[in-house]
């Protein structure tokens, strides 16, 4: 291959094209998978063999129309039951952006899979069936999205074809949702009336709803501003792995490998290492392709310091005047995800927080939340599957943590059952003592 050709291929890929990760949410059968199918279909992101396979399955089942939900509902059990069970990830790109979609299940039994898909999303599409309006599961998912601090929400009032494209129905649901969202922490909310089945307001504006003056869903997805969602202020570099080559050619090399959680790191910066509190300076920020002038999220780099200090996995590099808390007493909102055993006061668990592992004991349960009313039940003694509550934990070693609202990486943790090794809870830190 010629050098010019390679250089040209280079310039194609070097153009920064940003990435939007979004997830679907909402109650069972509200049309999430159909919407994703429609989005892929109308953006011509489908391959002919994928479409043919789905058409064949639909025809064999006697469906009246091709069920586009089958594009993401790929498991046997999902197709048998006609529901989504676990997240399906899908990829497509338009000239403006590249998208990673997580199509999540609406069924309450699989809430943990919805949480999995939403935890990394920049944006969530909350679907509501126009005939049914908001149901408990729509509220639960909206609440979870706000708890996970998905920065952008879009309420899609779906199945508008079944309510005669009624502006009134749309307005009523939109008002009800907006009122509910006002009680949550939702930084950015957009509302779109759609028909996932017929394709109205998905990639282009619908002719059936002339009263709607906003953009199509795709138009919004392509343009929603996400660059400022990242935290570029607080330097947080959890050390993942220490690179020390055992080699005769590279000697005395010691580098701290990790992914920048937030902030910007530069050679020469004064830094502090936690939990020890030692300070040093950044000697260099390296990648396999050579040193870089700066590192920022989501770069994976290797940081070298000017001083020899004892640093290992689980430690964290920050700035001396801007450090996370070093705390063993943690207050967190916890979403419980285990059907076999509830979270109980006094329970002991393993937890994973950034690159650090610890054990924790549940010291208290302040309250359990009622998803519909957002009422706090402070008499609750446990959290069962899919319940959310505010919990106090004591950890065996200090966590290097920020409030989740300030930092999604240093503020989130998972709870693991030490007997089964299953991930049983998701925690979002509210306060540290």
């Amino acid at each position: 291959m010629s050098v010019e050709a390679l250089a040209q291929a280079d310039s194609e890929t070097a153009r920064p094209m940003d990435l939007l990760r979004f997830a679907t949410a909402g109650s069972v059968d509200d049309g999430k998978s159909t919407l994703i199918g429609r989005l892929l279909y109308d953006t011509k992101s489908l391959f002919t063999d994928q479409l043919a396979a789905v058409e064949a399955v639909s025809a064999a089942r006697g469906d009246e129309y091709t069920n586009l939900a089958l594009l993401t509902d790929g498991l046997r059990a999902e197709r048998e039951q006609g529901i989504t069970i676990d997240v399906a990830y899908r990829y497509f790109a338009t000239p403006r952006r590249k998208f990673i979609i997580a199509d999540t299940p609406g069924h309450i039994q699989y809430t943990r899979n919805m949480v999995t898909g939403a935890s990394t999303a920049d944006l969530a599409l909350i679907l509501v069936d126009a005939r049914k309006g908001l149901v408990e599961q729509s509220r639960r998912h909206a609440f979870l999205c706000s708890l996970l601090r998905v920065p952008h929400l879009v309420l899609c009032v779906n199945k508008m074809d079944l309510v005669d494209w009624s502006e009134e129905v749309f307005e009523r649901i939109s008002d009800e949702f907006t009122a509910f969202a006002a009680k949550l922490d939702v930084p950015d909310l957009t509302v779109v009336p759609i028909s996932a089945l017929k394709g109205d307001n998905i990639v282009s504006r619908s002719e059936n709803m002339p009263w709607y003056e906003g953009p199509s869903l795709l138009h919004h997805l392509e343009r929603v501003h996400i660059a400022s969602d990242r935290n570029l202020v607080d330097v947080r570099f959890p050390v993942q792995y220490v690179i020390r080559p055992q080699s005769t050619t590279v000697t005395d090399y010691r580098g701290y490998a990790g992914q920048v959680a937030s902030g910007v790191l530069k050679p020469g910066d004064e830094v502090m290492v936690l939990p020890s509190g030692f300070t040093s300076r950044i000697a260099s920020v390296e990648t396999a392709d050579g040193p870089v002038a700066e590192a920022f999220p989501p770069m994976s780099v290797t940081v070298r310091l000017t001083d020899e200090i004892d640093i290992s996995r689980g430690d964290l590099i920050c700035r001396p005047n801007n450090a996370p808390a070093v705390a063993q007493d943690i207050e967190a909102m916890v979403c419980w995800m285990d059907e076999t055993r509830p979270l109980q006061i006094g329970g002991k668990y393993a937890i994973k927080h950034t690159t650090r592992s610890a054990r924790a004991i549940v010291r208290g349960l302040h309250y359990r939340l009622d998803i519909n009313s957002l009422h706090r039940d402070d008499a609750a003694g446990e959290l069962k599957l899919n319940e959310i509550g505010r919990v106090r934990l004591r950890t065996t070693v200090p966590l290097l943590a920020d409030e989740y609202r300030r930092n999604r990486t240093t503020g989130g943790f998972v709870i693991i059952d030490e007997a089964t090794n299953r991930t049983v809870g998701a925690g979002m830190i509210v306060e540290m003592g």
């Binding site: 291959m1 050709a5 390679l6 291929a9 280079d10 890929t13 920064p16 094209m17 940003d18 990435l19 391959f47 002919t48 063999d49 994928q50 396979a53 993401t72 790929g74 498991l75 069970i85 399906a88 990830y89 899908r90 990829y91 590249k98 990673i100 899979n113 949480v115 999995t116 935890s119 990394t120 660059a227 400022s228 990242r230 570029l232 993942q240 792995y241 690179i243 080559p245 055992q246 080699s247 090399y253 990790g258 992914q259 910007v264 396999a288 999220p297 989501p298 994976s300 996995r313 995800m337 994973k352 690159t355 999604r408 990486t409 989130g412 998972v414 693991i416 090794n421 991930t423 998701a426």
Partner: protein, 303 residues
């Protein structure tokens, strides 16, 4: 203060950073990782990411090839050369040896896709590997679209798609009991096109069969198969010469070629960007067995 617009990375850099993070997590937390290296483009990219993740140190784990015995010679040559260059330890889990030892039996259709699973699981057990890096991507197939980055396997190597561990943020849970293991997919979020863009950007050499060349083929089930020691024309099948390339490299007895003039990486990128058929749909006889062929194989412990 800092302007967010200035701190952008390309989507390819974002994918690379995520994959490197995943590989480092595995090495930091797991006891005995191994990387599945077939000489196919995805595993080649994965190997490059492993080099980057641990540089300037060497790749801190061995690689393993599950050899069905149905190979493209260009790919085996590439595999051996790459392993030698990087000073890696290569383990070959051999299906022909397992056949000879009576561990598995040839299936009626002669495809070795299914019998490769017990051979893989046997090697995992023998070497006590607890983490296996695989190059599978979610965009490849509908069952793969459902898989976690850290995918738990029980002591029989089975995947339970209805009962996967929740996987939040980038907190991967690799905990397991002895005998159980984790399949790890660093390329989960890459598409075929991303892989090719990366191959171009990193100037990664590939086995020659990925680029257009002339080959003697037959047409079977609408696909072009190379005539070789594993595929012989049946009655009524006509041999002819065609310009082809391979979009995937799997078992040589069930991997088909596609018509193509793309003899450079940028032509392949153009071709992949324009294609209307998925890579497995265009090239894999093994996926055509049934609608859920991949899910069924995966449940049994296949990648």
């Amino acid at each position: 203060m800092t302007s967010p617009a200035a701190y952008q990375v390309s989507h390819l850099d974002a994918l690379e950073a995520e994959s490197i993070f995943v590989m480092r997590e595995v090495v930091a937390e797991m006891e005995r990782p191994v990387l599945l290296f077939s000489g196919g483009k995805d595993s080649i990219v994965m190997l490059r990411l492993a080099q980057k993740a641990f540089a300037p140190a060497n790749i801190p784990f061995p690689v393993m090839h599950v050899d069905t015995g149905h190979n493209f010679p260009e790919v085996i040559e590439y595999r051996d050369q790459r392993v030698a260059e990087l000073g890696l330890h290569l383990i070959v889990a051999s299906v022909p040896e397992a056949l000879a030892a009576g561990l598995v039996r040839e299936s009626a259709d002669g495809m070795r896709n299914r019998i490769q699973t017990p051979v893989l699981l046997d090697a995992v057990e023998k070497h006590r590997f607890d983490a296996l890096f695989g190059g599978a991507r979610r965009d490849e197939e509908k069952a793969r679209a459902k898989e976690r980055v850290f995918s738990f396997r029980d002591e029989f190597g089975q995947w339970d798609p209805k009962n996967q561990r929740p996987e939040l943020w980038s907190l991967y849970n690799g905990r397991h009991h002895p005998g159980e293991s984790i399949r790890v997919f660093p390329l989960s979020n890459w598409t075929e096109l991303d892989v090719w863009h990366y191959i171009a950007r990193e100037r990664i050499p590939l086995p020659s069969i990925y680029y257009a060349h002339e080959r003697e083929v037959i047409e079977r089930d609408g696909m072009l198969y190379a005539v070789n020691e594993f595929i012989r024309p049946k009655a009524g099948e006509e041999r002819f010469k065609a310009q082809v390339r391979y979009r995937t490299v799997g078992d040589a007895s069930c991997t088909a070629a596609v018509r193509s003039d793309a003899d450079t990486v940028e032509k392949v990128i153009e071709e992949v960007a324009a294609t209307r058929i998925t890579e497995r749909g265009a090239t894999r006889g093994d996926d055509r067995v049934s609608e859920a062929a991949m899910e069924d194989r995966k449940r049994e412990g296949y990648f």
